[in-house]
């Protein structure tokens, strides 16, 4: 093994972090899904990792991948934690834009194109 440049999350098993759950309670959480935290929800009573997810998401929207990178946890584990927070109303997910699924896709794509050209 190559020595890591990062601090490792420690010798904690993934199922401890996810509270014993092996799979997310909701499907459709994508690596690019944006998470919006509800500031009105109480943080008391949350376990350490869900609490850290909330701390990361409260200042503004953050994607599942970014949360995983900040926590240095695998994406699949983060999805389990996030799904729990969505169920309890702490987080609202916003799925990535898929052109086929939206009737206004041409408008939206034009906006993306214009914004890219302006950069």
């Amino acid at each position: 093994m190559t020595p890591s440049r990062h601090r490792r999350a420690g010798m904690i098993r993934s199922y401890t972090v996810s509270g014993g759950d092996a799979s997310a309670t909701r499907a459709g959480l994508d690596a690019a899904t944006l998470l919006l935290a509800d500031p009105a929800r109480p943080l008391a009573g949350l376990a350490a990792h869900p609490r850290r997810v909330m701390d990361l998401c409260l200042p503004g929207a953050l994607s599942v991948s970014e949360v995983a990178a900040h926590l240095e946890l695998p994406g699949a584990i983060v999805k389990v934690i996030v799904a729990g927070l969505v169920d309890s109303g702490h987080l609202a997910p916003r799925a990535p834009f898929v052109p086929a699924a939206s009737p206004y896709s041409t408008d939206f794509l034009m906006k993306v194109l214009k914004a890219l050209e302006k950069l």
Binding site: M1, D30, R94, F97, L109, V112, L116
Partner: protein
């Protein structure tokens, strides 16, 4: 990031050492959350390093970059590892993606077929982009299109190290998806 933003997901694919990490790093506004690590002796047995002097790190999970285009659009770039052993991960990354950019190195053109096949299988629109390396052979577009068996997909040429140039790849991709949509609407 604005709370009203809608994420848009774009994949950057291509063979080992074609410049995916560089591309994501160039375009991203955040320090890319890269998982590049020094290659170990074990990896050298599997990863073909011929003609790739100076390559001593490789992406072990994925590169991830963000580009806020407007208060309502945030572009997410995912550079997935090129080695075939990561295909399962690439397939799951492709879900919900807008499209993909396949990077090509003219010294190893056929190495990019793998990534193109993955995108075609998933029926995701994609653009092929030649990433120019110093000292790599230059070919005419017609020759490249022929050897890459491209029909109507756009072929662009870029330098992944330069922001202005890398951006062209993304513009070509969005343009391609728009054209595709217009054709569909026309046919309706």
């Amino acid at each position: 990031m604005p709370a009203t933003a809608r994420p848009v997901k774009v994949l950057v694919l291509g063979p080992f050492a074609v410049g995916k990490t560089t591309f994501v790093r160039t375009v991203s506004e955040i320090r890319p959350l890269s998982t590049e690590e020094r290659m170990t002796q074990a990896g050298q047995l599997v990863d073909d390093l011929r003609d790739l002097q100076g390559k001593d790190t490789t992406t072990v999970a994925m590169d991830f970059g963000r580009l806020t285009l407007s208060p309502e659009i945030v572009l997410y770039l995912f550079g997935a590892p090129g080695q075939p052993r990561f295909h399962g991960m690439v397939r799951s990354l492709m879900e919900g993606a807008l499209g993909g950019l396949v990077l090509v190195d003219t010294r190893r053109i056929d190495d990019s077929f793998d990534a193109m096949n993955l995108l075609e299988e998933a029926q995701l629109p994609h653009v092929v982009a030649v990433n120019h390396f110093d000292g790599s052979p230059r070919y005419r577009d017609a020759e490249l299109r022929d050897s890459l068996s491209l029909d109507d997909q756009p072929l662009v040429s870029l330098d992944a190290r330069r922001a202005g140039s890398a951006k062209h790849g993304l513009i070509a991709l969005v343009q391609h998806i728009l054209d595709h949509h217009r054709r569909l609407e026309h046919a309706r």
